[in-house]
Amino acid sequence: MDTSRSPLEATGFSRKLAATIIIVYMIVTLIPITWMVATSFKSVDSAISYPPEVFFEPSLEGYVNLFTNRSRQPKDYLDSLPPPDTWYEELVRSREMVITGPSKFLPRYSNSLIIGFGATFFSVFLGSLAAYALSRFKVPLKDDLLFFILSTRMFPPIAVAVPIFIMYRKLGLGDTHVGMIILYTVVNLSLSVWLLKGFMDEIPREYEEAAMIDGYSRMQAFFKVVLPQATTGIAATAIFCMIFSWNEYAFAVLLTQFNAQTAPPFIPTIIGEGGLDWPAIGAGTTLFLIPVMIFTVVLRKHLLRGITFGAVRK
């Protein structure tokens, strides 16, 4: 018998099984994303052709359409125009159209960034303060309070859409960045408080006590000693909050229209000639994916530790 291996180590067979499952899962998840990215580089015709084209001639038409508004013009009018200055004008002309101006995509995209990162920041900031207080101090009715915070997550947020819609209209918060940041912060706070409280509980009190004896106030000790040790929890929480705020669709449709509309309700409205402009939608979704992807990759080493953190007593 082979005794060189610890009995706790996986056998060759189970390793292979695990690898197979992971690869299959990876393919299943990656196919739609790959298809979406591929579509963004197709021409309108090739995107809707049947059978679907796996190999195709790449085109930036989708991206050009995403960022511009265009109008179709008669051939003789197009011929009377001076030759196009730029490659994208040329591309649009070849479709017998002219660019009439930039599309709404950039403002919608930056709304998404402002609201997404803003809500994430406030969720984590307020959540960590609340979590610290609930972890360290004697708060009256602490358990009931924690349950109340949790209970706000027991129904889907959209269940309260009507009262929020009326409230926001009265308060003048509808279609504003501040309103959306407040809304997403509130929705995320319960998750943030509960997640971060778990992490705060794991940090021994001695650290902040040591800092307080060394001349720091509790607030200073919190920022200089407690928070740096909670980075794992903060990263994990921030990712969850960011993904929610970034992807949120229902409230965004309901509460935003012009000023503060985010990307999710905007992207499906990109309509081209004779139907949806799939390459442009593909391009919008691809670009929409990038910030969360970067955010998650940057924080991923914390995330991995964050998920298992606290599972084993150190």
């Binding site: 001695e206 006590e209 307080m212 060394d214 001349g215 980075t231």
Partner: protein, 360 residues
Amino acid sequence: MAEIEIKNLHKSFGDFVAVKKSNLIIENKEFFVLLGPSGCGKTTTLRMIAGLELPTSGNIYLDKEDVGYLRASQRDIAFVFQLFALYPHMNVRNNLAFPLKMQKLSRSEVDAKVLEAAKLLRIDHLLKSKVSSLAGGDRQRVALGRALVRRPKAFLMDEPLGTLDAEFRELMCLELRKLHDDIDATTVYVTHDQQEAMSMADRIAVMNEGVVLQADSPKVIYNKPKTKFVANFIGSPGMNFIPINEKISPSQSSIKLLDSSLNIPEQKEGTDSNENFLGVRPENLKLVSENGVKGNVFGVEYLGSRKILTIETQLGNIKIRVDSDTQVNINEQIQFDTLNNNQIIFDGSNDKALQSEFMS
């Protein structure tokens, strides 16, 4: 450095009383140990001196200034925690500099003080290391360094050697005491380990159930314990207690023990109770060939330089310390007697030692 005085200090957590109306004076430059079993209130007392807990009532004076209700940061005291509490996100240098950063010193002053503390503790070669890469003893030194870097009025230590292994603990005991002497510190040290307490302390306060039972030099605590608890807690094994079924009167100098009589130091106090105890340390008993108390050898513990015999007698089990070359067998019939006059009578009604020629 400073004198610390505790007056009528009281702390309760809900129904639980952690420290009961305690009084202590810790003198300037003294190495003072709070000793007691877990839950006796020693750590709570220390945390109140530090300002990490506020007293329910009573006062704490630091150099005659009442600091009992001040914030920890306003007291100029340093604290060494059992788990060291080194900040894992900083390297050794930043850990040492952390207390100085609140003092508005220039960068070069901070660097100089950090280096001085590091040299004193022989960790100057580790300044750039990560805290997590240090061995237990070095972590201990960094924790001490962080405490002494700003030269506070007093050092408070809560079982700082508790997590070190036995061999290293002895070494650190010596180093701690030497450090204390070198920098003329006033140190209050909490431990449940009597050996640590005995080897380092100028004075020891033994606590139990929130009460300071006795605060004296290690020698007095060991030889002349004022209560049965102290007598039993200090020394390994602790003191033997032999029940005496007679009332003790002042000036009495012998007691009846089974059918013989035993000389005791002349008593200066008497008791009302008929059930009292004779306390005698194992090393103050000896084996004799005749006229002693008879018993059977129940157990023999060989401890290298000595042996501890447990003798089953009509008076209960009694422990005797003998030389390690003394030959005795289990179940052997032997006799023993007192070696000297260092016996203490404890009043059975309140467990307190009676005043006598020996005790005073």
